[in-house]
Symmetry: C2
Subunit: 295 residues, 2 copies
């Protein structure tokens, strides 16, 4: 019975990995969690078997997962890559680092992640995305709120799609904020919330302002899909924005399992309604085409 | 005698337009300045004939320039596009706005600038870049400081070139900060100094960190070339960076008159030496090619 095989969870920061653990537990499937030291808060995982492991101790991570009979493995939660100097690699960590390759380590985040996932597969694990365990994270195309983006909002979304696409090709960030055609902010390592915070001071008087958060073109769907949640909505509202555009399910490449993940969808939509924001799941290609035609 | 014809200057914020005025005055050429209200500080231009004009009063600007016999026209200094609602357009302003076209206004900054420059040419003016009046703004390829970028710095420069190129294609910003392969910040409307300020809190322990500031691929060389100066160097040093990479003269497209402009070069290099930073003028294509070969 394959479901008796425990689910492995490598947990970074944020609520997402905890939701994955809860969802797996609800189905009765055993779970074993590796909590990345300094990112996942052990207090949240008290109900589940877990170990806290520093990021560089790759050999120890893999040994723990194997020791618990894990094959299916979810990587969830934010882990911002620290200084290479601050890694305390164990022997296996050094060997794995060599297998990742210099290009992956010094390149963009996707390069590193893809290389990491490749190594995990070679080591006999089966990496899964959070959306493979947790239902309802992916959203069908359409508007989720009472408020609907107007023509000016749609023009800002089109500009945001163009920018996010360019960023994604260079394997940087997944988000940007556009108001009245002006790109107020572009997301790099600081994250969406920090970008939203600074956009509050950059926005122009008058209406509008859209957060656009899309899947990167070469993003691995088993890790690191973009996420929005109630906190994102509240921060967008605090920045004075009109709404949020995310990538609908099945609109990124060949996989039907890619898209912007919506954490705690009921609360997220409720937060948007409370703040009077729109939340729309889009097919980015539609906006790129539209822009071309308008020229 | 063509040099008796006055030089027009439309001045935004910063020191650059003042340097242009001083350089023109030094050659004995008369000058007339239109100071954009809220951007150029009139105190600095007391020695020169000038008028302060709000951004939307395009008709008034053109009438003033014509009235002073201006044909050669330099646009210099930062002007961040305000809310469209906050423009108080005059009648000519509205007509010119219509000629700019909706795409230019709601698109990126380059689109707006190019359209604006086209309209100026149609109106009989001859737009020039600051570098056409002020010598020494463009820099030949090479290292300007005692410190030279090491191998890790060059890898960060390569990553920065890749990101800046992607941004430029989408007509956003001109700068980014990279450390140990991580993109710490990407510049949008907040400007280089604000980006550097936040990167201080985002950088990882350990060495490195490079500000890369390049010409956008479709950038009009008669306005809005990227600028670095002593302040940029001091801010990069305060953010803990190792150095700055800019675009060398003649490495952007066909024109030998494009490149990152270095304001007050002697002071800029002195500030870099004082802080122990490198300042290097690069040919971006070299770094893109290098990256390809390494794969």
């Amino acid at each position: 019975m394959p479901s008796a095989e425990p689910l492995g969870l490598v947990a970074g920061a944020g609520v997402m990995p905890l939701r994955v653990a809860d969802a797996a537990a609800k189905t009765g499937r055993p779970i074993f969690c590796v909590l990345i030291e300094g990112f996942a808060d052990p207090a949240g995982y008290a109900a589940y078997p877990h170990e806290v492991v520093p990021l560089g101790k790759t050999g120890r991570m893999l040994a723990l997962l194997r020791g618990h009979g894990v094959r299916d493995l979810v990587l969830a939660g934010r882990v911002t890559r620290p200084s290479l100097l601050s890694f305390r690699f164990d022997a296996d960590g050094v060997r794995l680092l060599a297998r990742l390759g210099r290009g992956a380590i010094l390149g963009g985040d996707d390069g590193l992640l893809s290389a990491g996932l490749r190594v995990l597969r070679e080591e006999g694990f089966w990496p899964l995305g959070a959306q493979a365990v947790l239902d309802g994270l992916l959203v069908e195309e359409g508007v989720l709120t009472a408020r609907v983006p107007d023509e000016a909002d749609r023009a800002d979304i089109a500009r945001g799609v163009q920018v996010a696409r360019a960023l994604g090709v260079a394997d940087v960030g997944q988000g940007c904020v556009v108001q009245q055609g002006l790109v107020l902010g572009v997301e790099a390592i600081e994250g969406t919330d920090a970008m939203l915070a600074r956009c509050a001071g950059l926005r122009r008087e008058g209406p509008g302002g859209v957060l656009v958060k899309l899947v990167k073109p070469r993003q691995d769907i088993r890790a690191d899909l973009p996420v929005v949640g109630p906190e994102t909505v509240r921060n967008a509202a605090a920045a004075g924005l009109a709404g949020i555009a995310i990538q609908a399910r099945g609109t990124a490449g060949a996989s039907p399992h890619a898209g912007t993940l919506v954490l705690d969808r009921v609360e997220t939509v409720a937060a948007a309604e409370a703040a009077g924001l729109f939340l729309v799941a889009i097919r980015p290609a539609d906006f790129l085409l539209k822009k071309e035609n308008e020229r």
